[in-house]
């Protein structure tokens, strides 16, 4: 060690290591197993948890098997009714106790997290652990209030939760706290790279006197996760991790009644306008991509900077990169620690190599000479949108930079991705900021900031970044089930025949066509099928394709005011009323009158399903905006051919969506007759498109279509399963219901329709003059 005089010459920071004494004592004193039914149970096989900064083994932990998962799920099931039967206040006491105990062990958690994950101690100490604790406090509150705030909701039961290695304790808290607050019990599988803080948390569950079986933790790799996903005793799966695994889980759960939320990858834009505070934006990049080694799903990994300041910005960014300190994560002066393991390091380096091979220029700090898996911060320039580094999630400290000329181009580049998790917008012009915030496809938008989190701010993605929200009221809804419809199970209908059938036609032919883009269109197939008293077009996948294109072009509908949409819906009700007698002949007076009332009902909601302003941090406005998905597919129920159609299409368009509707296959006539009403009611072309035909095939086409952002299926179990499975391509959220609804009654106009018609965009706006 240098002398004071030598240190005075260099003015270096010198080493400032965090002590690992208590954490190592804890590791040595424990034999780790699974935490099931309130006890630690040793596993049959074990594997090593490695410190990625040194390559040294920290502990042997148990490899969970299907049998372990089964034991854990059974324990959770056994505990479920008792836990759900507790009063909200009693559950709140448990969550509060967990929060308090975590706070009392905050440094032990922080040191363990850094040892296991490789992240800098500053981050685990100042960010991960405090946010995790805050999450339990916040949800102690929700436990207390759930009965009052979420009437007619019940817990799902047993939740299977699978979390990633980038924020082990924080993701645990995001999963466990709301699940418990809502009255569920859980089986959690931490990532195999980082199981240690979950095991410490398990000890706290014992210490806090949590009832046995309410929290169960099974360690292990993806096979244990797969066993959890497939276990028949699990009612809900919540997953945070890669889009690739998310897709597998979507497939695996498609044929079940399991509820599902997915928080997946991202390739989030970081947009810098010329009038931004450039130094602020530079620090924003540091907090975006050089936070947690860039192993952050919502990391701003694509910088888009306005051409007029791009040179200045790039030079400053390169200069800033030089003062980042890569090294021992336990050192208090480290900015960038080790990535989670060598596999991840190689993956990052391989994408960077490919990016360079494809023409990108890499600017990177010198490599850190350490035994562990270190990657120096890097910046890729001179690359187009097609470069692998702009399309693939790197999950490392490497950021790309492209330029744009105009706000429109910024939005175009920002949205030129399969993902839609987060976006960061830098400008001192509030008018520009909010305009861009409205246009980017992202679940979270930060204005003049990045990577801001709070337990009371909904977090989650659009597009292939997943669905469902964590945090706040919206996060609670992901762990609560609304009252299920009480009707009979829907039955499959056979695909219609294209061949003529005796006695099916009208005496005087009345031509019915498909309705696409506001016009009547012949079916692409050139075939019709017979229904009682008429011939109707036999739609196919090309008709769906055309309808999606038409719906896509009708984007203006999503931008008009709720008041405008309400006026259109009221007018529709009026015109339906004018032709009530005609519809009554088809479906009866009661259904017709109910359909008119339903149109009024959803017209009423069009301008009233408001977003929220969440209470998060001081001097921050945190908005939760309810945005339409855009283009939606709706497989309307077979039952109630008019009322079922109206009850599903209207809430979707009232919220600003454009729909491709597949009406009742057996009786599509009321829906087809309705297009004349749509025409006369000023519903713009493309907002509602109607395709008749084989519903199973049409549903599958809609599910597979990447241009369809959300899908509702009120259909038999086979169609529901297919819709969910085939949706895995673009991971659109699917609302599939195979029980008939009482369309005449309250079930026909429940709040579920609104909740499923919008996605939350959380916009953070810090302020200060």
């Amino acid at each position: 060690m240098p002398t004071v005089t030598e240190a005075l010459n260099t003015m270096d920071y010198g080493p400032a290591p965090e002590s690992t004494g208590h954490a190592m004592d804890w590791l040595k004193s424990r034999g780790f197993g699974h935490f099931i039914n309130g006890k630690f149970i040793s596993g049959s096989e074990t594997f090593a948890s490695i410190n990625p900064a040194t390559g040294e083994e920290l502990a042997q932990v148990a490899q969970g098997t299907a049998a372990d998962i089964d034991t854990a799920v059974k324990a959770a099931r056994k505990a479920a009714s008792g836990w759900a039967a507790l009063s909200g206040h009693q559950r709140a006491r448990h969550l509060y106790a967990l929060a308090r105990l975590m706070q009392k062990r905050e440094r032990l958690f922080a040191v363990l997290e850094t040892l296991d994950n490789g992240k800098p101690i500053r981050e685990s100490r100042d960010i991960d652990v405090p946010l995790a604790v805050r999450h339990f406090y916040h949800h102690a509150g929700w436990a207390e209030l759930a009965e009052v705030e979420f009437p007619d909701h019940r817990p799902h039961g047993v939740c299977g939760q699978i979390i990633p290695w980038n924020f082990p304790l924080l993701m645990l808290s995001w999963k466990i706290a709301p699940a418990l607050a809502a009255g569920n019990t859980v089986v959690l599988k931490p990532a195999e790279q980082t199981p240690l803080t979950a095991l410490l948390f398990a000890e706290l569950c014992i210490e806090a006197g949590l009832p046995k079986g309410v929290v169960n933790i099974v360690t292990g790799d993806g096979t244990a996760g797969a066993a959890l996903v497939e276990h028949a005793g699990v009612d809900k799966i919540a997953f945070t991790g890669s889009t690739e695994v998310g897709r597998k889980i979507r497939h695996a759960t498609a044929g079940t009644e399991k509820a599902l939320t997915l928080e997946l990858g991202g390739k989030s834009p970081f947009i810098v306008f010329a009038e931004a505070d450039l130094d602020a934006a530079i620090e924003g990049v540091v907090d975006a991509i050089w936070f947690n080694q860039g192993e952050v799903c919502c990391a701003g990994s694509r910088i888009l900077v306005q051409e007029s300041v791009s040179e200045q910005f790039t030079n400053r960014l390169k200069a800033r990169m030089k003062t980042l300190r890569v090294g021992d994560p336990l050192d208090k002066s480290t900015d960038i620690g080790a990535v989670v393991d060598q596999i991840q390091r190689q993956r990052i380096c391989s994408i960077v190599d490919d990016a360079v091979a494809q023409g990108a220029v890499l600017h990177q700090a010198p490599a850190y000479e350490g035994k562990g898996s270190f990657v120096s911060p890097g910046l890729l320039t001179g690359l187009g949108a097609a470069n692998i580094a702009n399309s693939e999630e790197i999950f490392g400290p490497i950021v790309t930079l492209m330029t744009f000329r105009t706000p429109n181009e910024a939005v175009e580049l920002a949205n030129n991705t399969r993902y839609g998790l987060a976006a960061s917008i830098w400008t001192e012009n509030i008018t520009t900021a909010l305009d861009i915030a409205a246009q980017v496809k992202a679940g979270i938008v930060w204005v003049n900031g990045t990577n801001m989190f709070d337990a009371n701010a909904p977090f989650g993605g659009m597009r292939e970044s997943g669905f469902g929200r964590e945090g706040a009221r919206e996060g609670m809804l992901a762990y609560l089930a609304p009252a299920a419809p009480k009707g009979a199970a829907r039955k499959a209908v056979d695909a219609p025949s294209a061949l003529p059938e005796a006695g099916s036609g009208d005496a005087i032919d009345r031509t019915r066509k498909l309705y696409i883009g506001g016009a009547q269109k012949r079916a692409d197939s050139g075939y019709s099928y017979a229904v009682a008293g008429a011939q109707v077009p036999l739609g196919n996948r090309k008709d769906i394709r055309n309808a999606v294109e038409a719906a896509d072009k009708a984007g203006k509908w999503s931008g008009v005011t709720g008041h405008n949409r309400a006026q259109v819906l009221y007018f529709l009700a009026e015109n339906l009323n004018a032709r009530a007698a005609e519809f009554a002949k088809q479906v009866g007076e009661a259904e017709t009158q109910a359909a008119i009332a339903r149109a009024f009902y959803w017209a009423a909601w069009a301008d009233k399903f408001d977003g929220r302003v969440h209470s998060t941090q001081s001097a921050h406005v945190t908005l939760a905006m309810k945005e339409p998905f855009g283009v939606m597919g709706v497989i309307c129920p077979e039952e109630a051919p008019l009322l079922g159609f109206v009850s599903t299409i209207l809430p979707a368009i009232a919220m600003g969506n454009r729909v491709i509707a597949v009406p009742s296959q057996a009786n599509p006539l009321p829906a087809l007759d309705l297009y004349q009403v749509l025409d006369t009611s000023d519903v713009p072309g493309g907002v509602v498109n109607i395709i008749t035909g084989p519903r199973a095939e049409l549903a599958e086409t809609l599910a597979k279509h990447d241009g369809v952002a959300a899908l509702w299926a009120f259909a038999d179990p086979a169609i529901c399963e297919s819709a969910k499975a085939q949706s895995a391509g673009n991971l659109k959220p699917v609302w599939a219901e195979s029980q008939e609804r009482d369309w005449q009654g309250a079930e026909g106009q429940s709040q579920d329709f609104l909740h499923h018609a919008v996605q939350i965009k959380t916009i953070w706006v810090p302020y200060g003059a």
């Binding site: 060690m1 004071v4 240190a7 920071y13 010198g14 602020a280 208090k332």
Partner: protein, 315 residues
């Protein structure tokens, strides 16, 4: 030593479109000190360094010759001998300067003779600066005549509020001329300018008009030196350096009282500007009570015992 800033013509487009975002600046300022830590002998070295960058200051209505002499004695011997010995320093460190009112310059000069410690004087109607310009310039000349090596001037805040950049530039340029060979530190009174965009603009005008240092506060404002304000000012001087090649010094003043503050500001300088800005020719603290806290911390480092202030010589 670096070349002295000759100033530039007033160039408004270097600053009039710059908008400083306060929450983002505060975020950076708040994490500067959580991102870096100095311990053990490094911490001791950083505290000794802070002493050498301190303008030990007395600017009170009740200052007397004797009071100033006592301050100068402390500036010569800021640490007790056993601490210097315990730290293994070859020599007794000295403060960067002593800072007084113009009428105390002669006393300070005499008290510091042969020490190599410069005398800094406030001038220009400190702290409000609301005197006729010719009187303010005369005050500078008086202080220089008395032997001041450095002059801390205050700017007319009204010129900033009114965006009257020409008036501000002309005033500071005239003051710089009056300073002659004495180095000029321009006090922006940031606690009164309030917005960070104002602070950036005033910093840039002061440098264009030839300031050798830019300084945050008089010590008499409701809010004095803060890290966000300092961050804004050092970024302005970095930008000025990028454009002109001249290095400008920075002096935070007022409200800096603890050894922890001394570390925090040095981290800011090192992170934003680099090693050169940890030397007295480019960085000064305007402080009086901070030295006592530093001495206590250093005593603890040397002896392992917590110190009591009454056992150290006061300034």
């Amino acid at each position: 030593m670096h070349a002295r800033n000759p100033g530039t013509p007033l160039t408004v487009d270097w600053f009039d479109r710059v908008q400083v975002n306060r929450p983002a600046t505060e975020r950076r300022a708040n994490t500067l000190t959580t991102r870096r830590s100095v311990k053990k002998q490094f911490q001791a070295a950083w505290l000794v360094n802070a002493i050498t960058c301190t303008d030990l200051t007395t600017l009170a209505g009740d200052d007397t010759d004797a009071r100033v002499e006592r301050l100068c004695a402390k500036a010569r011997r800021p640490l007790a001998d056993h601490i210097v010995e315990g730290l293994g320093l070859p020599d007794m460190p000295k403060t960067g300067a002593v800072c007084v009112y113009p009428t105390m310059v002669a006393t300070a000069k005499h008290a510091l003779s042969n020490s190599g410690i410069p005398v800094a004087s406030v001038a220009t109607g400190f702290p409000a600066g609301l005197m006729p310009l010719d009187m303010r310039l005369a005050e500078i000349r008086y202080a220089v005549d008395q032997g001041a090596d450095e002059i801390d001037i205050v700017i007319t805040r009204a010129h900033v509020f009114n965006a009257n950049w020409t008036a501000l530039y002309d005033e500071i340029a005239a003051m710089r001329e009056a300073c002659g060979a004495a180095h000029m530190k321009a006090i922006l009174a940031t606690g009164e300018l309030t917005t960070l965009s104002n602070v950036y603009a005033a910093s840039m005008v002061a440098m264009q008009a030839g300031a050798d240092f830019i300084k945050t506060s008089t010590g008499k404002e409701p809010v004095n030196a803060t890290l966000p304000v300092s961050l804004t000012m050092v970024r302005a001087l970095r930008d000025y350096g990028d454009r002109t090649g001249y290095k400008i010094g920075f002096k935070p003043a007022g409200g800096i009282k603890t050894a922890k503050d001394a570390i925090a500001w040095q981290i800011l300088m090192k992170e934003e500007l680099g090693r050169d800005w940890l030397r007295g020719d480019l960085f000064r603290f305007g402080a009086s009570s901070m030295l006592g806290d530093i001495e206590r911390q250093l005593e603890h480092y040397v002896t392992g015992r917590y110190a009591a202030s009454h056992r150290h010589a006061i300034a």
